[in-house]
Subunit: 478 residues, 4 copies
C-alpha cells in the first residue's frame, strides 16, 4: 500500500514498488532513477560482509550481553511484569515513569522528567559518560485503551526494562573500560495517541540532538527487520481536527440560528464528493467527536477528527488541501465558521540496512523464533518519521508473542515465557548493536554513509514527485 | 406555529387559526366546522357568569386560602429556597423528593416513592380522605442542565412547595369540615428530559386513574391563561433515536468494513432531501450522539437523536414516516443496519375555559403582576398531552420572574421577592380552584361538559384531517 | 403565502397579512404601521365615490366603448382566433407580431419592431396624438410550450386584439374630438419565459417612459380585481443559472479531472443543508439542465436553473445569497469553477384601488360572469413588478374561460363564446378606463395621489424590513 | 488497472499481476495457482516453435496473401477512403453497410442484412464454401460522434475493406483448391455505443455459432499483440440506467409533489457514501441525462446513466449491487420510484498466444512499424468479452496512424500512406493466419488446446475469487 522504496533480497519487488502511487511515465521514471541509485549505494556498502565480520566471535561483546541478560533475569523482567499489570494510557504514565527513572537514578543516571511540555517524557544521561559516539535508547510505556480499561496489548510495558538493561550494561562497560561513548535513555510517552505527537515534539525541542544512533525495541509476533530505504508501515498521515461553530436557536425558529451539525456533515459529504478526483491510494477517514447537544436546540458547536493518508507526503499535501477545502466549503455553504487544526503528522522514516541486517543476525544468534526470511517494508525506527530522518537507528523486533499486536492475547503473553524470552533477546540484540557501534569506527562510517545516501535519495524522489503531481486545469465556465 | 383551535376573546384569531397547517379548501372546511361547534359549546357554558359567581365573596374559601399562605410564609418558601439551592437534574432528584415526601408524611399523607419504574416519582394520598371528587396536584422538581452544573432556571424548585401548600390546606379543610373529597399529590420527575416521558409512563401505569381534576403550577414572566380548545405550546412531537451498526475495519482497508458514520450522516442528508416535500410547518432537527470512536477505525456504531414536530399529530405521522424512511434508506445505501426507537411523544392537550378563566380571575384577585389580557394558545395542563386528554385540569402561571424561562436570571429570581410573591399567588389560586371544584357541584358539571365536548371535537378534527392529508401519487418510471 | 399588504373589504384580513413573513415583534410593528397609514390613504381618496361618479351615465364614453365592440366583432375576434390557432412560443412570435403591427399600421400607428434587443417586441404610437395624458396599452402574444407543441392555454392570443380594439377606438376619439392625449401600444414578447425578462428589459431601455397610465388584459376563469397595495401573485422571484466547469478525464483515471457533475449536485445538497436555516416561507427549486455527456468521461460542464422565491424582496436577498454561497461552496469543495448568472427577477408590483375598483365596476356593467366579490391579493398590472412600481396602471380580468390558466381547456375556450365574450368585455372595460382617465383630470389626480402614497409606503415597509431581518451572530470556533 | 492474468516474455510481470485486485492472502493464492497452471499450459504448447514453423517459406500462402494485397490496392483502399469520408455513427451505418455488402455479393457471398434486431448488422457467407474449418471475419464501420459531426477517428472505416480483402482472397483459394473450409463475414455495428451491445446481441442470437476461429483488425499507433490469458483493456463494465419518477407540483406547494431530481441526486450521494466501502480499483461514474424540466415545477422524471467497472466480474457484481442499492435507497428516502435497467456489459475476453504470436510474427514480416516488443495486456479479439470466451480468435493491430485512437489526427491518417500501409499489412496478416489455420490441422489443435485450457483456468480463477470476496458481517444495532 506504501510507495515504499526498498532494496534487498526481494529483487522481484522492484517492479511492484512503483505499482501504486506512480501512474504516469514521469512518475515511474522518477522512482526508477532513485531505485537504481539506491541499488548502487547498497552494493557499495557490502552489508553482508560487515554483518558477517561483526557477528563473529567477540569476548568483550559477549560479556556486556551477558550482563544485560543478568539484569533482565534478576530485576527487569520483574519490572516489566509490574508495569504490565499496572497499565497507564498515554500521557498519564506517572507510575511507570517513576519505576523506570528510579531505576536509572539508582544506576547512576541523571534524570530530567518533563520534556517538551510533556510531563511523562524524560531524558536520562549516564553520569560517567565520555563524549562521542552518543548512543540513544528510546523507551515507551503507554498502555492501550480497552473497553474495560487500559491494558498492555502492545507490550510497551517491556520496552522500558529492555532499554534499561541495554543502557545500564553499555554504560557500565564504557565507564569501566574508558571506551569513549555516552548513553542516553529517552522516555517517550503516548505512542498510541496524538495529539500531541510526543517524539516529534521532543525532537522539535532538540531532545535528541547530538545522538549518533538511536535504538528501540518493539513487541512482535514475528522476528523481522525492515528493508533499507524510506517508508512507513501505514502511509504518511496528517491528523486534522475541524471544529465548526454556528449560532444556537430554538428548533421552532431554527432560521434564527446557523446549524454547526450541517457544517460538519457537509465536511464529510464534500470529501465523498471528491473521492473520485483523488488518487485511489488515498485513505481519508474521520469521526464526529461532537455532534451537537440536544435535538431541540440548533447545534452551535460540532467537531470532527480525521486521519488523511497517502503513500507519499508530496501528493498527501494535495489530499489534505482537498479536505481543508471541504471544510471551508461546508462552512461557507452552511453559514457557519470552521477552525482547522493540523495537530499531528506521521511521515516516511529512513532505515539503514547496515543496522537492520545486523539486528537480524543478532536476533537469530540469540535464539529468536518465527523468523521471517524476507525483509519487510522499509520504515524508520520510530513511528513519526521525524527522528529517523535526522538520526540513524534501528527498531528491534524479536518474537515476543503468539498473537497479533493490540490484542488481549498479546497482553497475556507479557507474563509468559514467550514474552520474557523475546524481551531478553531484544535487550541482548540492542546491547550487541550498541557495542559494535561504539567499538567499531568503520561500522559507524558505513552507517553514516548509508544514512546520508538514503536521505539524499529521499529528497531526490520527493523533488521528482513534486514535478509530477500537477493539478488539472479547470477552464472558466461558459 | 400550532394548528391550535381556540375560542375566546380573540375573535380575530379565528381566521388565523387555520392559517398554518391548512392549505386546501378541504382542510379549511374541516377546521371551520370544528371552530363553529366549539364556539357553540363555549356559548352554552357561560364561563364569564360562572367565574363571576365563584370569585365572589366566600369566607370558607378565604380561610383555606389564608391557611395556604400561612404554610408558604412559614415553611414552604423556605423549602423552595432550599430545593432551588440544591438543584438535581431529571431522574436523579432524590434529595428533593425526600424533602417533599417527608413534609407530606408529616402532614398525614401516605407516600409511595417509585412509580412506573421511575425511582423519583411518587404518589401521596391524604390519609383522611373521603371519596370523590378526587383532587390531583402535580408537582415537579427537576433542574436544568447548565454548562456549569444543574440550576433551577425553570423554577421547578418551587412547584413542590406550591403544590404541598394547596394540598395540605385543602386536605385539612375537607377533613375538618367532613366535606367529601380526596387530595392526591403526584411527584413527576424529569420534566425537562425524555426518555422516559415520566407523566406518560405514570399515566400508562394508571397512577392518575380516578382523578376528577388535576392542577399544577409553573413559573412564568407573565400572568396568563390558555384559551379553551386543544393544542400545545410547541407542536406535537415525536422523539426518535436512530442507531446504526456497521462492520469495523482498519482505515487502510476500509472496504472490509461498513461505515456506520456514513449511515447516520445520510440519515441527515435524506431528511434534507425531502424538506421541500414536507409541509413547511414541520420542524425536524437532530443531533449525532455517537459519531464514531477513532479516525483510524471504520466506525461500526453511531446514533442520532431527533425531535420531529408538526402542528397536528395526523400529518406528524407522515413526517415521522419520512424520517424513518430516511434512516432505512441510509442503512440500505451504506450496507449498515439501523434500529429505530420511538422513545417518546408530546401531543396536543385539552384545556377547559371554565378552569382557565377561573384561574385567571383568582390570580388577578390575589395580586398577580404583568397580566396578559388575551388568552394564550390552548394547551393542556401538562406538557405531554396524554394526561390532559383524559382528565380535566389547569396549569397556573402567575408572574414569578422578570426573566424568560430557562435562564440564569429566572433562577436568581427563585430567591427574590418576585419569585416568592408569584409562588404564593400560585398556591392561593390553586387552593381556590380546588375549593370551588370540591364545594360547587354545578361547577364540576360545567367543567365535565366542556371537557367532554372539546374531546369529541378534537376527535372530529383529527378525523377530518386524516381524510385531508393524502399522499401524492407517484407513477411508475418509464 | 405572500407578504402582501392590502386594504379593502377584507377587514379581518388585516391581522393575517403579517402572519407569514413576520415573526418578531419588530417585524409585526413594521407591517402594522404601514397598514395603518395605507388605511388612512385609502380613506382619504373615497374610491367608492369616485367609481360611482365615473360609471354613471356618459354618452361620450358609451360611443367609444361601442366602437371598441364593433372592432372586436368585425375584425379582432377573428384575429384572436387566428393567433390562437397559430401559436408561437416566447421570442419567436414573428407571425403574431406581423398580424398585430400590420393592423396598427393600417390604423394610423407608427410601428417600431425590435425594442431593447428583443426582435419580437414593438412600440406603436398613434400618428395623430396630441400630448399628455399618455395612455399605454400592453399586449402579449406568446404561447405555452406543450408536450405536443405550442398552444395558447393562457389565452395570450387574445390580448393583442383586445388591446388593439381599445387603442384604436381611443385614438380615433382623441383625434376626432381634439381631446389632449396620446395612445401607445407596447408589444411585449415571451411573458412565459425568462431570460430575458422582456418588460424589465424594455423598461430599462426607457420604452415606457412618459406613460401616465398603462392598461393590460389577461385571461381568467373568474372576474376579479386586486386589492390596493403592493404584492404579487407568487412571491418575489430571483431566476439564477449556475454553470460549473471542471476538467475532463477518462473514467479510469478520474483523478486527472475535476467533476463538474459533483459540483452541481453539491449545489443542491448545500441548499438542502440550509433549508432549516432559512425562513419557511422561502421556496427554492432548481433543475439540472446539463448533467454531463457520457459516463466514461468525467463531466467537465454542468448547469442548473433555479427560481428562488420569498414573500418580500428584502429577505429574498438573503435567501439568494444562501444559494449563491451554496454554489461557491460546491465549486470550492469539488475543485471546479462556477459562473453565477442572475438572469431575471420578479418583484412586488403596486396596485391602485382607484383603477382596480373602476375596472371591477365596468366589468360587471358590461356583463362579466363568475364575479368574485372580495378583492384578490394586491399585485401590479404586469408580472415583473418593475413597470408597475413606476407607472400607475391596471390589469383587466373578466372571465374568459371555464378552466384554470395554463390548460388545454382554456386553449379550447379561445374559440368559444365564453372566450369571445370575456375578451370583448376586457376591451370595453379597457376603453372605458382610458376614456375616464383622459377626460377626468380629477380622476388622474386621485390615481396619481394613490400611486405616490403607496409607493412611499412600500419604501417605508421595505426599510422597516431591512432593519428587522438581521443575520445570526456566529462566534469563532473554539 | 486490470486483474489480468498473463504469461509471456514479461516474467517480472507475474508478481504484479495480482497487485491490484488481490489484497488478502487467499486472493493471492487463488491467482498464484492459476498463473502457475497457465505457465505450464503455455510451456506445453511451444508457441515459439509453432510460429517459427508456420511463418517459414510457403508459396501457397504467399499467393493468397498477394491476392489480398492486390484487392486492397485496386479496390478496397478506395472503398476505405470512401467510407472514411462518409462517416456514419453507430446503428445508422446504412451507406457503409450497402458499400460492403454490395462488394460481398459481387464476390459470390450470400448476404443477410439485419441480424438480432440490429438493422445495420449483417452476415455474409461465401456461396462456394465446403464445411469446416469455419473461418469468421468480423468487420466494423461506425464512426465517432465529434463536436462537429461524425468522423472516423478510430479508423473503423478501414476494417470492412481489410476484412473483405482477406475473406475474398481466402474464399477464392479454398474454392479453387477444394480445400475444406468456409468463410463468413460478420458486419457488427455500433462498436462505440451501447445499448445495444451489438456483438453480445448477435452472439445471443447464435450468429457466430459454429465458427472455429474469428479474426478482426483494428487501428493502432503501435504494432502489438496481447499476452495469452484473459482480461480486457479497461476492466469489466456494467452499463446501467436509473430512471426516477416522482409526482409533479407547483414550486409554491412542493409538498404536494415528490421530487425526482432529489431522487437522482441522492443516487450519486449514496454512491459517494460507500466509495470507501468498495475496493479502490472500482470505477463508478455517471451522468444525469434528465435533470428536470423547469424550476417552477417539482421535477417528476429524471434519469442517470452509469458505467460501473471493476478488474474482475466477480467483485463487480458486488459493486453493481452497491449502486443498485444506492438507487433503491434514494427512491425510498425521497418518496420516488426508480427503474433499474442493466442495459449492457463488457467482460474479460480470452486470448490465445498461439494466434497472437503468429499475428505478431506476420505483421513484422509484412513490414509493420513501431513494433512493441512486449506483449500487451491479455484481451479478447472483441470488446465485449462474450464472443472471445466461446470462440478462439485474434485481433490484428499493425500501426496505421501516428496519433492515438479517437483523434482527428487518426482520422486524417485514414487517407495517408501510414493508414493505407497499416490496413494492407492487417489484411495480409489476417489472410496468412486464416491460411495457416485452414491448412495446418496441428495448428488448429494447438489453438483449440490453448483455448480450452485458458477457459478452464478462467473458470477456476473466478471460482476462487467467489470464495474470496466475502461481505463484512454487520451486527444488529444495540
Amino acid at each position: 500500500m506504501k510507495a515504499l522504496l526498498t532494496l534487498g533480497a526481494c529483487a522481484l519487488c522492484l517492479a511492484s514498488l512503483t505499482a501504486h502511487a506512480q501512474e504516469t511515465d514521469t512518475e515511474k521514471a522518477a522512482a526508477r532513477d532513485v531505485i537504481r541509485k539506491m541499488a548502487d549505494l547498497e552494493q557499495s556498502l557490502d552489508v553482508p560482509g560487515l554483518v558477517a565480520k561483526l557477528t563473529g566471535a567477540d569476548a568483550g561483546r559477549d560479556a556486556v550481553v551477558a550482563r544485560t541478560k543478568e539484569l533482565m533475569d534478576k530485576e527487569l523482567l520483574t519490572m516489566a511484569d509490574d508495569i504490565a499489570t499496572h497499565p497507564e494510557i498515554g500521557f498519564t504514565e506517572k507510575r511507570s515513569v517513576a519505576k523506570l527513572t528510579d531505576y536509572l537514578k539508582a544506576h547512576n543516571f541523571d534524570v530530567e522528567i518533563g520534556v517538551a511540555n510533556l510531563p511523562t517524557a524524560f531524558v536520562a544521561k549516564y553520569r560517567g559518560s565520555s563524549g562521542a559516539p552518543n548512543l540513544g535508547v528510546v523507551v515507551e510505556y503507554d498502555a492501550l485503551r480497552g473497553t474495560s480499561g487500559p491494558f498492555h496489548g502492545d507490550q510497551h510495558s517491556a520496552q522500558g526494562p529492555v532499554g534499561l538493561a541495554a543502557a545500564v550494561a553499555m554504560s557500565e562497560f564504557l565507564s569501566r573500560t574508558h571506551t569513549p561513548g555516552s548513553v542516553t535513555v529517552f522516555g517517550t510517552p503516548g505512542e498510541e495517541m496524538m495529539p500531541p505527537v510526543a517524539k516529534a515534539d521532543m525532537h522539535a525541542a532538540h531532545a535528541f540532538d547530538g545522538m549518533d544512533i538511536i535504538v528501540r525495541s518493539h513487541s512482535s509476533s514475528v522476528t523481522s527487520r525492515p528493508a533499507p530505504g524510506f517508508g512507513s508501515c501505514c502511509m504518511n498521515i496528517d491528523g486534522v481536527k475541524y471544529t465548526f461553530s454556528g449560532a444556537p436557536a430554538h428548533q421552532l425558529t431554527s432560521w434564527n440560528g446557523r446549524n454547526a451539525l450541517e457544517g460538519v456533515i457537509h465536511l464529510f459529504n464534500n470529501i465523498d464528493a471528491v473521492r473520485s478526483s483523488i488518487r485511489p491510494e488515498a485513505r481519508i477517514q474521520g469521526v464526529i467527536t461532537d455532534g451537537g447537544a440536544a435535538p431541540n436546540v440548533t447545534p452551535d458547536r460540532t467537531a470532527a477528527d480525521f486521519y488523511i493518508r497517502y503513500p507519499d507526503e508530496v501528493y498527501l499535501a494535495q489530499v489534505t488541501e482537498f479536505v481543508d477545502n471541504a471544510a471551508k466549503a461546508a462552512a461557507l455553504a452552511t453559514g457557519t465558521k470552521v477552525k482547522i487544526d493540523h495537530y499531528g503528522k506521521d511521515r516516511d522514516g529512513v532505515n539503514e540496512g547496515a543496522l537492520a541486517e545486523l539486528s537480524f543476525a543478532y536476533m537469530k544468534k540469540y535464539g529468536a523464533t518465527n523468523v521471517q526470511a524476507q525483509p519487510g517494508k522499509p520504515q524508520g525506527f520510530e513511528e513519526t518519521g521525524t527522528v529517523s530522518r535526522d538520526i540513524p537507528g534501528i527498531g528491534i523486533s524479536a518474537q515476543s508473542s503468539l498473537a497479533p499486536n493490540h490484542t488481549y492475547e498479546m497482553n497475556a503473553d507479557n507474563l509468559k515465557e514467550i514474552g520474557h524470552t523475546g524481551f531478553t533477546i531484544d535487550a541482548e540484540t540492542m546491547t550487541a548493536i550498541l557495542f559494535d557501534f561504539a567499538t567499531h569506527p568503520e561500522y559507524r562510517v558505513a552507517v553514516k554513509k548509508e544514512f546520508d545516501g538514503l536521505k539524499a535519495l529521499f529528497g531526490e524522489y520527493q523533488a521528482a514527485l513534486k514535478k509530477t503531481y500537477t493539478s488539472p486545469v479547470v477552464s472558466e465556465p461558459k
